[in-house]
């Protein structure tokens, strides 16, 4: 088949389709969104499989698990922190096992380009004791996804593919292979899938008993490779995932290329590691993310007679993403000559709300209303509106995780914060805001919740939102918020005074209020106009 230029995300999606995917699920989140975008476009053309956005990552994971139970192949993708949301079904899916191939694809964001942390999903694979693939390039992303379905069905376990931003959002050419068909419907066995203690104990023992075979699989994996050289045995390098590229990039500048172990399949391939470590005096471990291999290798006491270098030793930075430069220095090379600005300081240009954004009008009204209160706190959430942290708004004081605004406002209100205000978008509310609102409604907590209904998931590129429009209003009423304290405002400059007044009324109401600010995202409105 002809090569195509694909994002790393898209290479995974295409690999899944060609592996005989029956259904894919996800929740939007950078840098994973383009996996599902691609699946949805492809499914719209062929109608051959299901591809849909879920209300959150836990739901997405469980939907995929249902597909696997039915004997069919499922893919579930999310940004790294989305796997925290799905961690409950994820950890237990290692015990239920997979009936049809089940592949979970978290996309990590080292450097926190668009995220609140830079956690490393390989630790989740290690935690659940499942196989993990970590592609170093686009072709591998495609091949590994195909192979992940095979491994999942062979071992009867979910398999992880760990992506990172620089692969997810990099384009390169991929040469696809012939696709294969889907599985037939074949239900899972209840004694495997019903995790009562009696079954779960047996299943867990099964996973433990299977570990040695997984390590062997990893040692024999075509994606792991050991290249030993006798010319120089002082240094050997272990490089995983895209870190392998940064090592390769710098090799031409080394007089003698060192012995090199590439690790792109986990569990950690013990034999290969031993082969390298025994061969050299100093081992440099280069991995994108947290030092998983380095920590395992070093343990508490190190390796007798060997020097282990990496992130823990300070030879590579522990925060941020790796780069060709940081790896270059760790390899003992001098920086390349380059141009510089001679100390000239450049103004930073942080992201900001678009001109005319409805959130801006909501924030102006909120700031106006809050002038009369000196102890207000605005708990915010994950979405474009987090940008209300920056001038000229400087209105939000927190951003932690999906849905936290509502729960934190409730906690804060219960120990004396007033006005205690939550600001959350419609899709984030559907994701994780509804459950804390149910609680706040039952307790009639003295707080004010803003739901910014722009009818889309704006930050990640305008995916559909479930909790929007009329349904959103019925949801709020349905959890028991008093109807007279559900207020709808239209965030527009001309409504500034009127809206500030509504906000003040609801802050002064002793109990729970919900203010829904309804105006469509400008970017989405523009897109609709362009496509007619």
């Amino acid at each position: 088949m002809k090569p195509e230029i694909l994002l790393g995300d898209e290479a995974v999606a295409l690999g899944a389709i060609h592996a005989g995917l029956s259904a894919g699920y996800s929740y939007p989140g950078t840098p994973a969104s383009e996996i599902m975008e691609y699946l949805i476009k492809a499914a719209a053309k062929t109608k051959a499989f299901v591809a849909s956005w879920s209300v959150n990552e836990k739901v997405a994971f469980e939907e995929a698990l249902g597909v696997s139970f039915a004997g069919k192949r499922a893919l579930v993708s999310m940004k790294h922190v989305g796997l925290n949301v799905a961690a409950d079904p994820f950890m237990s899916s290692a015990l239920t096992g997979a009936n049809g191939g089940l592949v979970v694809v978290p996309a990590d964001d080292p450097g926190m380009h668009s995220s609140q942390n830079e956690q490393d999903s390989r630790f989740y694979a290690d935690f659940a004791k499942i196989v993990c693939f970590e592609p170093s390039n686009h072709q591998e992303a495609y091949e590994m996804t195909r192979q992940a379905f095979d491994v999942s069905e062979k071992l009867g376990l979910p398999v992880m593919i760990r992506l990172v931003t620089r692969l997810s959002h990099s384009r390169s050419s991929v040469r696809p292979r012939e696709p294969r068909g889907q599985n037939e419907l074949k239900y899972g066995a209840s004694q495997d899938w019903t995790l009562l203690p009696v079954n779960a104990r047996r299943r867990f023992k099964g996973i433990l008993d299977g570990q040695a075979a997984m390590v062997r699989l990893s040692e024999e994996s075509e994606f792991n490779s050991l290249r030993l050289t006798d010319k120089d045995r002082s240094l050997g390098v272990i490089a995983s995932g895209i870190a392998f590229n940064y090592v390769q990039e710098n090799l031409p500048d080394l007089e003698i290329p060192p012995s090199l172990l590439k690790v792109c399949t986990y569990p950690i391939p013990e034999k290969l590691i031993r082969g390298l470590v025994e061969h050299v005096e100093t081992v440099l471990v280069v991995e994108e993310g947290y030092p998983l291999i380095e920590r395992s290798l070093r343990g508490f006491f190190g390796v007798a007679g060997k020097t282990i270098k990496g992130k823990l030793s300070g030879d590579l930075p522990q925060t941020g993403e790796l780069s060709p430069e940081t790896v270059r220095l760790a390899l003992g090379l001098k920086p390349l000559e380059r141009l510089d600005l001679g100390g000239f300081k450049l103004a930073a240009r942080p992201p900001q709300l678009c001109a005319g954004c409805p959130h801006a009008d909501t924030f102006h009204a909120l700031n106006k209303a809050l002038r009369e209160y000196d102890k207000a706190n605005v708990f915010s959430d994950i979405g474009c509106y987090t940008l209300g942290y920056y001038p000229p708004y400087q209105v939000v004081q927190t951003c932690v995780c999906m849905g936290a605004s509502v729960s934190m406002a409730k906690g804060g209100a219960e120990v004396g914060i007033h006005p205690s205000i939550a600001v959350i978008g419609d899709s984030t509310f559907g994701h994780s805001g509804l459950t804390p609102l149910l609680e706040a409604a039952a307790a009639d907590t003295n707080m004010t919740v803003f739901i910014l209904d722009n009818s889309t998931v704006a930050m990640t590129g305008g995916q559909p939102s479930y909790a929007t429009g009329e349904r959103l209003l019925r949801m709020i009423e349905g959890v028991g918020v008093a109807k007279e304290h559900i207020r709808v405002i239209e965030p527009l400059p001309k409504n500034l005074d009127k809206n500030a007044l509504v906000i003040k009324e609801e802050i002064d109401h002793h109990g729970l209020s919900v203010i829904v600010a309804v105006r469509e995202c400008l970017e989405e409105a523009k897109k609709k106009r362009r496509s007619g």
């Binding site: 380009h113 620089r166 050419s173 390349l336 000559e337 380059r338 141009l339 930073a348």
Partner: protein, 207 residues
């Protein structure tokens, strides 16, 4: 032979479109390519950049090493300077002179332009004027692409085809103005007093 290009601008200025056109032409020529881009939060009016690497040989890193870029191509002067440390000492910079001011502490424009002029091989272009001449100020990215076209490793004549592909769903008028913007960029670069390119290079120059 290879070429490493940093594309720079502000979210929404269309640098991914520039990358698309060059990358598509490169694929057609059978070249290897990698193109790292920015999605998500930074796209909202923040600084964005794309690393575009084209080569006859295998490309390893998705990111261009600092000190390896042959060209910084920027739709905005402040953003052009943000990536100077990626440039080789003999690297070239092609930038628009039109500032995109959405921050309070935007520096003095003349200072920015003089900083760009300090780089031995530079070209500064009034992309807004040319884009308007082409029919739409939204075509500034294609003006810049046109200005760089003669210095790219891919064949210059292979590019317009993908400008058509890129804009065809928006109708003929938009395709025409983008093609014209590209041609105007080509013309202004051809007429410019510009230190000539040193030609392609093989592997690391050692510079």
């Amino acid at each position: 032979m290879k070429q490493d290009i940093i594309l720079a601008g502000v979210g929404g200025q269309g640098i991914i479109s520039i990358a698309y056109v060059i990358a598509s032409a490169a694929l057609e020529e059978g070249l290897e390519l990698k193109q790292a881009e920015v999605h998500g939060m930074s796209q909202r009016g923040g600084a964005v950049q794309s690393h575009l690497r084209i080569s006859r040989e295998r490309i390893w890193s998705d990111l261009i090493p600092r000190g390896e870029a042959d060209l910084v191509l920027s739709v905005e002067p402040l953003e052009a300077l943000r990536y100077i440390d990626y440039l080789r000492p003999d690297g070239m910079i092609i930038s628009s002179r039109v500032p995109f001011i959405n921050i309070r502490d935007y520096p003095d424009l003349e200072t920015l332009l003089s900083k760009i002029r300090e780089i031995p091989r530079h070209l500064i272009i009034d992309s807004e004027k040319l884009a308007k001449e082409a029919g739409s100020s939204r075509t500034q990215n294609m003006v810049l692409l046109g200005a760089a076209a003669g210095r790219l490793m891919v064949k210059e004549e292979g590019l317009p085809r993908y400008i058509k592909v890129l804009f065809e769903r928006h109708g003929e008028t938009i395709v025409a103005s983008n093609l014209k913007a590209f041609a105007l960029g080509q013309a202004v670069a051809a007429a410019a007093d510009f230190v000539p390119a040193s030609g392609g290079r093989t592997g690391r120059g050692g510079g």
